[in-house]
């Protein structure tokens, strides 16, 4: 029964159909009913086998000896998958609306109730996701990847995530990777992180103080197959001996009251076991009540090659580089949410920044006055005094050195109105939650660099930025550019000449590229000319060129043509205006 053919199934189906037509249910005796049931079951088993492609281990099991209870389990799992989906949809609605409700002005008691709804629905979502995950795994609907990946990187990412889960606990998270563990392996990195996240996440739930250690070692190597050994050891509450055997069974937690204390569906470990086994490994557990628990598992991986790792993943900056670039930066954080406070200090401390955290406006101002703060991070939605008000208060301080500190706002949502208010309140920049570490780093770097410039050059800078951002004036104004040239007309004239030359080159290049459908060329030509258009303040032309660039990127020839024709119409007008301006300046 190694491979069933669809043809065989279909013929069985028509046999069944024929025998069904052959008798009436009123005349059905016990024997006939039994035989009907058994042939139906046989058919269904084979159909299941065909559809879900059950693995070789079931080979040789004769359908006649098939046990109806396993078949029942299969049915249950499909039902679970279906029902979980059905529950998730309305649950998404509940969570979404609870979030919206929070935006309204609620009184304290209403807020508490919304809190309760959110917390309960989030818990429910977590349980359902686990159930769904489990049923997908056990019905074989889950896909497994085989890609080259950096195993050290995956482990470090997992540990970083787990670190953020440890709040208000004295738990030490340790990694111990043996040097002989290869860097690049072939396998499913997301499944490996899922296993580790589940095991370590679980350990964090059950450990209040002490440590959690992840050790990785190379257990065996044969040809290009590496057998890695992982162990997650904790100093948690431990699992009683009589429960240890059931720990990987679905819907089992050690004690009945564990759920009430620690939450979760009790499926986490079953999922881990399924995943480890599907990856060709084994898992076991050792535990002693009051001492701790250790999960050990092995997974075989093929040898990988670094050159096969896709490079398109967003590059993240190393902690060492972060320290070098930002080490010693003094950052004041206004944030009222305890978890976020913890998270952001954690992130910044990794880069050796010195952090001060407060949720209170006047306390924050006091810190600003006494510590030489380099950058302020401001949560916009805080209970007593909003981020906008605090920023205004900072900008109104007497000491220039302090009042001009860069302020970066962060918030979960920014409306256009918020942006406007940011500028009004003197906020320099904003960061949308959830932000990545890279985004945070870039914003900090940018602000820090400006802060490092001398006060004199800073003054120069602000004048400059104001003149650049001062828009709304669509006519060409060469005065600013003349100032850039220290008032030397010859230089300005040379720039105008170069500008025109560049435009002619652009027109020529795009014309040729359009006939060849060379979108890349068009994109590059447009990109190249942007800086010049900005310099000359020809904002109308710049808008057209930016659109050309965007449409060329999307290989949208129709719009590129349309825009290019528009450019050809607009350019002579701009050229004439430029000449006029130049003539006027010469006469002065």
């Amino acid at each position: 029964m190694s491979k069933l053919k669809t043809k065989d199934l279909l013929s069985q189906l028509s046999d069944l159909e024929a025998s069904l037509n052959g008798f009436s249910f009123e005349e059905l005796n016990v024997e006939e009913a039994k035989s009907l049931k058994s042939s139906f079951n046989r058919f269904k088993y084979q159909l299941n086998h065909k559809i879900f492609g059950t693995d070789e281990t079931q080979d040789g099991i004769q359908p006649q000896r098939m046990n109806t209870s396993t078949q029942q389990v299969g049915e249950d799992k499909k039902l679970i998958a279906y029902v979980s989906h059905e529950i998730r949809t309305p649950l998404n609605g509940i969570i979404g609306f609870a979030n919206l409700l929070r935006e309204d002005n609620l009184n304290l008691s209403q807020e508490k109730k919304v809190d309760a709804i959110q917390s309960a629905s989030n818990n429910l979502m977590e349980v359902i996701n686990e159930v769904l995950e489990y049923s997908k795994l056990t019905t074989g609907l889950e896909d497994f990847e085989a890609v080259d990946f950096n195993v050290h990187g995956v482990i470090k990412d997992v540990m970083f995530l787990c670190q953020t889960l440890i709040v208000d606990k004295t738990v030490n998270l340790k990694i111990d990777i043996a040097p002989k563990v290869p860097k690049v392996l072939v396998g499913d990195p997301s499944k490996l992180s899922q296993i580790l996240l589940n095991l370590i996440g679980n350990a964090i739930k059950f450990v209040d103080r002490g440590h959690i250690t992840l050790s990785v070692d190379l257990k065996a190597q044969e040809n290009d197959i590496y057998l890695l050994h992982f162990s997650v050891q904790d100093t948690g509450i431990g699992i009683p001996q009589n429960q240890l055997g059931h720990i990987f069974e679905s819907f089992k937690q050690a004690e009945k009251d564990t759920f009430r204390r620690y939450g979760g569906s009790g499926l986490g470990l079953s999922i881990v076991k399924e995943l480890v086994e599907k990856l060709g490994g084994r898992i076991n557990v050792l535990s002693k009540v009051g001492v701790g628990t250790t999960f050990n598992f092995n997974i075989p991986f093929h040898k990988g090659s670094p050159s096969n790792i896709p490079q398109n993943r967003p590059k993240s900056i190393s902690t060492a580089k972060g320290k070098e670039l930002l080490g010693g930066t003094k950052i004041l954080i206004f944030e009222d949410n305890e978890l976020n406070r913890h998270l952001i200090s954690e992130q910044l401390n990794k880069w050796d920044c010195i952090t001060y955290v407060t949720e209170n406006g006047s306390e924050g101002l006091q810190i600003l006055k006494t510590k030489a703060i380099d950058i302020v991070l401001m949560d916009l939605k805080m209970p007593e005094m909003s981020g906008f008000e605090i920023s205004k208060a900072i900008r109104a301080l007497n000491d220039n050195e302090i009042s001009q500190v860069p302020i970066i706002a962060f918030s979960a949502d920014f409306t256009a109105q918020d942006q406007e208010r940011c500028y009004e309140s003197g906020i320099n920049d904003f960061l949308l939650k959830p932000y990545t570490l890279n985004e945070l780093m870039i914003k900090l770097l940018k602000r820090k660099k400006e802060r490092n410039l001398t006060q004199a050059s800073l003054k120069l800078l602000t004048q400059e930025t104001i003149s650049i951002t001062d828009k709304g004036n669509e006519k060409i104004d060469l005065d600013k550019l003349l100032k850039e040239c220290y008032g030397e007309l010859d230089m300005l004239q040379e720039l105008v000449r170069l500008f025109k030359q560049n435009i002619f080159e652009f027109i020529g290049a795009v014309k040729i590229a359009m006939t060849n459908l060379a979108f890349e060329e068009i994109y590059l030509a447009a990109h190249k000319i942007k800086a010049g258009l900005t310099l000359m303040n020809t904002n109308d032309l710049k808008r057209i060129v930016v659109s050309i660039e965007e449409h060329a990127k999307k290989s949208d020839m129709e719009n590129v043509k349309l825009l290019f024709n528009q450019f050809l119409e607009e350019f002579p007008l701009n050229e004439a205006l430029l000449d006029q301006e130049l003539a006027k300046l010469k006469q002065r």
Binding site: K315, S316, K449, C485, E488, E494, L498, Q501, H527, A531
Partner: protein, 125 residues
């Protein structure tokens, strides 16, 4: 800034000539190259005091340039990168590889001048 040489690598002639002009006024001597090939050739016979390079250049990107200077030439010469807006991942790569500073387009010539002077003075001390 007498005698300090700036190598300006940018295929945008307009911006480059304005920068060239202002840097000369500030007492720098300036060499301008248009693309990556020219940068490599230039560096084979001359080492400037600072390199200012666009991140997007024909033949040889700014990122490759940093790599070339730091790894192959083993030089710690200051490198300042001019990046397009919204290209922040590249900026990170640039820093990872050893760029000293960056400035985003649209470039303000005054800001760039301040940044160049700062980098050059740093190495001077």
């Amino acid at each position: 800034m007498d005698g300090k040489t700036v190598l300006l690598a940018d295929d945008d002639e307009l911006l480059a000539s304005l920068l060239h002009f202002r840097l000369k006024k500030a007492g720098y001597s300036v060499d301008h190259v248009l693309d990556g090939k020219e940068v490599k050739e230039y560096l084979s016979h001359t080492m400037p005091d600072i390199i200012v390079s666009d991140i997007m250049m024909p033949y040889f990107s700014g990122i490759e340039l940093i790599n070339y200077v730091r790894k192959e030439l083993q030089s710690k010469i200051p490198i300042l990168i001019i990046s397009s807006a919204g290209n922040e991942e590249n900026v990170l790569s640039a820093f990872e590889l050893g760029a000293n500073d960056f400035i985003s387009k649209p470039v303000s010539p005054s800001e760039l001048l301040v940044r160049i002077t700062r980098e050059v003075n740093k190495t001077h001390i």
